[in-house]
Symmetry: C2
Subunit: 314 residues, 2 copies
């Protein structure tokens, strides 16, 4: 997988943004560590998902590419695949639940994709995507259970270690485990002694339970504000990568997530979505006093008006 990440990095060169790293004295004092924030909220489409989507779609043969791509996602992967398809001159179809926020649908359509709604009460998104995929001979780009997607996500950590040397630990949020797997493989290949820690909401702790028990655990539609972490479980590819390369999994409360978003907003002037703030939430909850230099991946900044207004209402 590490060689795939290195190849992905070459493929993304000049296409993905090299996102900046930010720091804050106040955060350092609160966390009791030297903290570095990798700002993937500044990545194209507002999240790290652009990396994996571009890496996967750009590897298709000209013939496969010309047929078009399809995926299922109501979140950042949808926008990423939509933009990548446009950049590479093909067409994207995105399967979304019919209760997805209008803003997310509009953003995805804004990049030129076709959105197909499905009723989650009647069918799964996988079934709907499969049917359309077969009918139109499209290529399915899964959100996280895809080697090229995982490799693409791993380039964020590669870049991070290049920007900030000698990290003692790196924290990444965990939904389906694509970012966490890629981060862990890149980190352990370069700096085996750097600890890799995945962070989940307490309310969606399936990956933490999977990690602790060694058996795949699931959640169903967990009521966490961190929509990027509502995925039911780790994937077939990401689960073993997490088991092998991740050192620990931590969970954070909903209150800690909200507090982290507010801190990032008011003090650091950064717009970060709930899933993107998981690592900072862990640090601000006093999760670690044991590390000197801690890197945190702020995975994305796509937050809608009602959510941020509610968060800033207190």
């Amino acid at each position: 997988m590490f060689s795939r990440i290195l190849e992905a990095s070459k493929r993304l060169s000049g296409i993905a943004h090299i996102t900046p790293v930010m720091a804050s004295r106040t955060l350092d004092e609160t966390a009791g560590a030297e903290v570095f924030l990798k700002c993937e909220n500044f990545q194209r489409t507002g999240a790290f998902k652009f990396r994996g989507a571009y890496n996967a779609v750009s590897r298709l043969t000209a013939e496969r590419l010309s047929r078009g791509v399809i995926t299922y996602s109501s979140g950042n992967h949808a926008q990423a695949v939509a933009l990548v398809a446009r950049l590479l001159g093909t067409h994207a179809t995105i399967v979304m639940p019919n209760n997805a926020p209008a803003t997310k649908r509009a953003a995805t359509e804004g990049y030129g994709a076709t959105v197909v709604e499905h009723n989650p009460e009647e069918t799964t998104r996988e079934e709907v995507a499969k049917q359309i995929q077969l009918e139109h001979d499209l290529t399915l780009i899964k959100p996280y259970d895809n080697q090229d997607v995982i490799a693409g996500q791993g380039t964020a950590a590669l870049e991070f270690h290049d920007q900030i040397r000698d990290l003692d630990a790196i924290l990444a949020p965990c939904g389906g485990g694509g970012l966490l797997s890629g981060t862990a493989v890149a980190t352990k290949s370069l700096y085996p002694r750097c600890r890799v820690i995945g962070v989940e909401p307490e309310l969606a702790d399936d990956a933490t339970r999977s990690f602790k028990t060694g058996e795949l655990q699931t959640v169903y539609n967990p009521p966490t504000i961190a929509d990027g972490a509502r995925t039911p479980s780790l994937g077939e590819l990401t689960f073993p990568l997490v088991m092998k390369n991740v050192d620990d999994m931590w969970t954070v409360s909903e209150t800690a997530i909200v507090d982290a978003i507010k801190f990032l907003f008011y003090r650091m002037k950064l717009v970060v979505e709930p899933s993107g703030a998981l690592g900072v939430a862990a640090l601000m909850s006093g999760a670690t006093r044991d590390y000197g230099r801690v890197g945190v991946v702020l995975s994305g900044g796509n937050i809608d008006g009602p959510t941020i207004r509610q968060i800033l209402a207190d």
Copy 2:
């Protein structure tokens, strides 16, 4: 003044942040120009004001410094002077109107300053500050009408030109004119052909009218959302500097300011306060199609909860 800016730059080295420059393809398309945003919202205390305050206070003799400093401001200059005083081991007194937002007072006190309230119906802030200054033998650090403050603010443009070469124009917001004066002097000294444009809210267009007529014009408590631009007029020092070094003054509507803040928030993931968004508001209103490369100073990011919630409510 340019030599003062160069000296200020040396003084601020390692103390002020070198703030990043951000760009957006979408903004470029909207503006019809190549746009670069100088992110002074990431400066210490969340605004460029730290530069001028540090430059002015750090130049005091040990004896004057030990007596303490005083200023009047309900905004970013207050927080800047408060932090600078703490960094330099002295004490700051800040005169604020008794109707200043509690958050701004709390932020200033958070940096260790003493806040003195005055009733703007009864006395001016200048009178109150003068009395305390004389009583305790303090040094008054005016918000903009001070050579060292202006020179400090000019370092943002110096740094900007060093980061992005060959700008055709540079846009800076205008309140009391400290930032605009410093930006204009630095720019004209380095790149005389780069146009310098000040931007004001239509509702607080005193500097624009002063610039057009050549006579100092004033506004009284204008109802603009851009609190940093509510200053009554340019100062004794800033007015002639603006007349001599600025090429044009533009005004923008309140709607344009709100739209700019929303764009910066949702698309660029940047928290920018209303005054800080004036330049982007001008570009998004179609103010320029004539320049190739345009630099914009995002002057600050200190926005309170009620204001941002209202802006994001539409």
